[in-house]
Symmetry: C3
Subunit: 324 residues, 3 copies
Amino acid sequence: MIDQFDDQGRLRHLLTLDGLTRDQITAILDRAEAFLRPPGDLPAWSEALKGLSVANLFFEPSTRTRASFELAGKRLGADVLNLDISTSSRAKGESLIDTIYTLEAMQCDVFVVRDAQAGVPEFIAENVEDHVRVLNAGESHVNHPTQGLLDTMTIRHHKPDFGSLVITVLGDVRHSRVARSLAHALDALGVAELRLVAPDNLLPDENDFPGAMITSDADRGVTDADVVMALRIQKERMTESDIPDPQEYHRRFGLDGERLRLAKADAIVMHPGPMNRGVEIASKVADGPQSVIREQVTNGVAVRMAVLEAVAGLPTESPEDYAE
Amino acid sequence: MIDQFDDQGRLRHLLTLDGLTRDQITAILDRAEAFLRPPGDLPAWSEALKGLSVANLFFEPSTRTRASFELAGKRLGADVLNLDISTSSRAKGESLIDTIYTLEAMQCDVFVVRDAQAGVPEFIAENVEDHVRVLNAGESHVNHPTQGLLDTMTIRHHKPDFGSLVITVLGDVRHSRVARSLAHALDALGVAELRLVAPDNLLPDENDFPGAMITSDADRGVTDADVVMALRIQKERMTESDIPDPQEYHRRFGLDGERLRLAKADAIVMHPGPMNRGVEIASKVADGPQSVIREQVTNGVAVRMAVLEAVAGLPTESPEDYAE
Amino acid sequence: MIDQFDDQGRLRHLLTLDGLTRDQITAILDRAEAFLRPPGDLPAWSEALKGLSVANLFFEPSTRTRASFELAGKRLGADVLNLDISTSSRAKGESLIDTIYTLEAMQCDVFVVRDAQAGVPEFIAENVEDHVRVLNAGESHVNHPTQGLLDTMTIRHHKPDFGSLVITVLGDVRHSRVARSLAHALDALGVAELRLVAPDNLLPDENDFPGAMITSDADRGVTDADVVMALRIQKERMTESDIPDPQEYHRRFGLDGERLRLAKADAIVMHPGPMNRGVEIASKVADGPQSVIREQVTNGVAVRMAVLEAVAGLPTESPEDYAE
């Protein structure tokens, strides 16, 4: 595994949250807080990364994550190059490594990479020159580190004492990079209990989530939880699982008002998006008072700004240096 | 209907020109004039909207209008996010409202929206937070307000006395958002006469254009007009109408030199683009001395800059503040 | 043929390298050198073209060249508008010339054009207003002038004495705009010998490459060469040629280590990309010590910055004016 930090402890790449320490995660989240602005104010904006070229290299389609990274880059003054390359055209065109060499030769010094294949972000990081940085923007079912950070930031905002928290993730955990990256972060932060709820056929391997409570009983998983995160269920997964249709999924695994009442009274509700309303989450819950789903999105831009700034190796400015 | 102006009379959204007053329209056009530059000079450019994120949200494909809004935003220093989302992928992905909530949570504070379905821009405006602005960039057959403004600006430049003008629109009026938005503006400006010419099956409902003269006799419609605007005819409409082919359409409804001679000698010729040369307009007329078609495009960027600046709620700078 | 230079000898359009003088080419290359930065430094960045709108008008798909021009424009502070329009949608939409008139009316004053049809960039240059500039980014099989410049810049860096050089181009020369533009530049610079190697059915017309040695004997073509450039072979060409499959092509025309040893010991290896590794070039050669393939890419951005700056008619700043 490539080292994500340099000799001085500065972030070089962000490929996974696996192995990051509490301090490393906390430093990124603390910095991200500096990029938050009240709704209606202009977003945080600076020229900190002026002149830097960031390549958004998406081999899987994405609207949300690409937009979030694009805004993060532009709001730091970087030049952002969007490259949406389907895996099929990658097959016909040049090899992945030659695409990387080409962009590197154009002095794109930060790569934001999404790929359906496990190992691609690390492969890139191993093959670029020393000064080039790689950020994983979603890798197969294994890693989505900026998502894990934004989720952790959102939880911390409402429930800062991780040592006392019960956090429940509900849905297709087996195929979820979101669940894996969250688990990595929560492990570092010393969460009291992580519970994973999924249909029998979509339960994860225990080795992927050491120490977690794994169950296919949604009510049991949600009971007394402080945080409940519903995951998107993909319709093609339903046929693989023992769930015949969306209504049945909703009844057995969906987060509706009744099931949410089993959690703590002040539990927060999360979802990484995009949501299937009425399937894995009821609309009333998604839009209800316990939902922090939109905060997650807002924190996503802030986390990505913090990570971009960190890997660019810039001296950390104080928040006051940023335009209000 | 949502109020497009706030308590102090400042523009919040631009969804329709229906109901705007002469003064409200005139104020936008006057401001747009400040963004015109002679050909060969650099375009007007400022950092007035620096830090603001504008989301170009096009659910219908568009090259011209998207480019016009993108340039308008960039020339005011905004960060412009292009999101081309086909209606089919909208069906598969998250709901429209969740896309809006997501972009809003990313602090995109201005939405530029094109949609094939009537009501979508207003629906969005009703659901965003108070500080978010929505600009309609083309809505089904019902509204295209910035097009109506750029057309009005172009007419005003050549024929400022609307109370004495006869304006003729020629083509598929029934399905034309361009015609509707123009009619709204002309109504506010007190045009002497609006004439609408279309094949029998493409004539509009009279209630959509109160006070207009509606006819399927192109020669009669054009006679003595001060302004003649030809609309794009879509080939799929031809089968619906009583027009068997492009040649026949051109003969009966096309704007050629002979028909144009029926209009006033100094009449101007307009077309919202993209043109089918030789169908609804003859090339000689499109490129002739009476054509102001390219001025329309130029004014389009200026109008969109004026509207973006207005909804951003910035103090209006004098034109001299802008880079020449 | 349209004049690419104005009365004062300043570049107006870059459509072809055919007819450029040694001094004209040298001036562009000299200027391009000023935009090079060591790997790991920020790329050269300025606001020289601030306010200028550059339209990237690609009627053929392209990732590399479009990205290179986009970065070049952004690193000079220009607003870059990307318009990827497939030739098929051009057929359905407005005519090419109306697309040009539209963008011109939006005050896009520089067009970067790629088209599969010969003559399109010149046609555009003939039809735009005097102050608008057209840069050819790849035209059918006939011209790719910025590629010719970047290749020449790369050769000059390693082998500045063109009068003594033997340069070999290997591949589908018949259909190669890269080979043609390189030949134009080398002709101006007075290269000692240009050799073109291709399968029998892909040999070019002698009139297209006056003075060149043309052969289908790869070993003979490479022997004692100072520079060997392998061209991408498109699989659909193979059926047209007498080459049955990629392995056979590699054996007979590919640049592998054994064949490269026939060239001078210090020969450099080039490829315009994207590469078919193992077909026209062996991976070991592409990544070997004699390869300057990534330098070509780096020089491509620098050349495009120099050309954009030149056509924008700006006073040439000294390199020190650019941010380091």
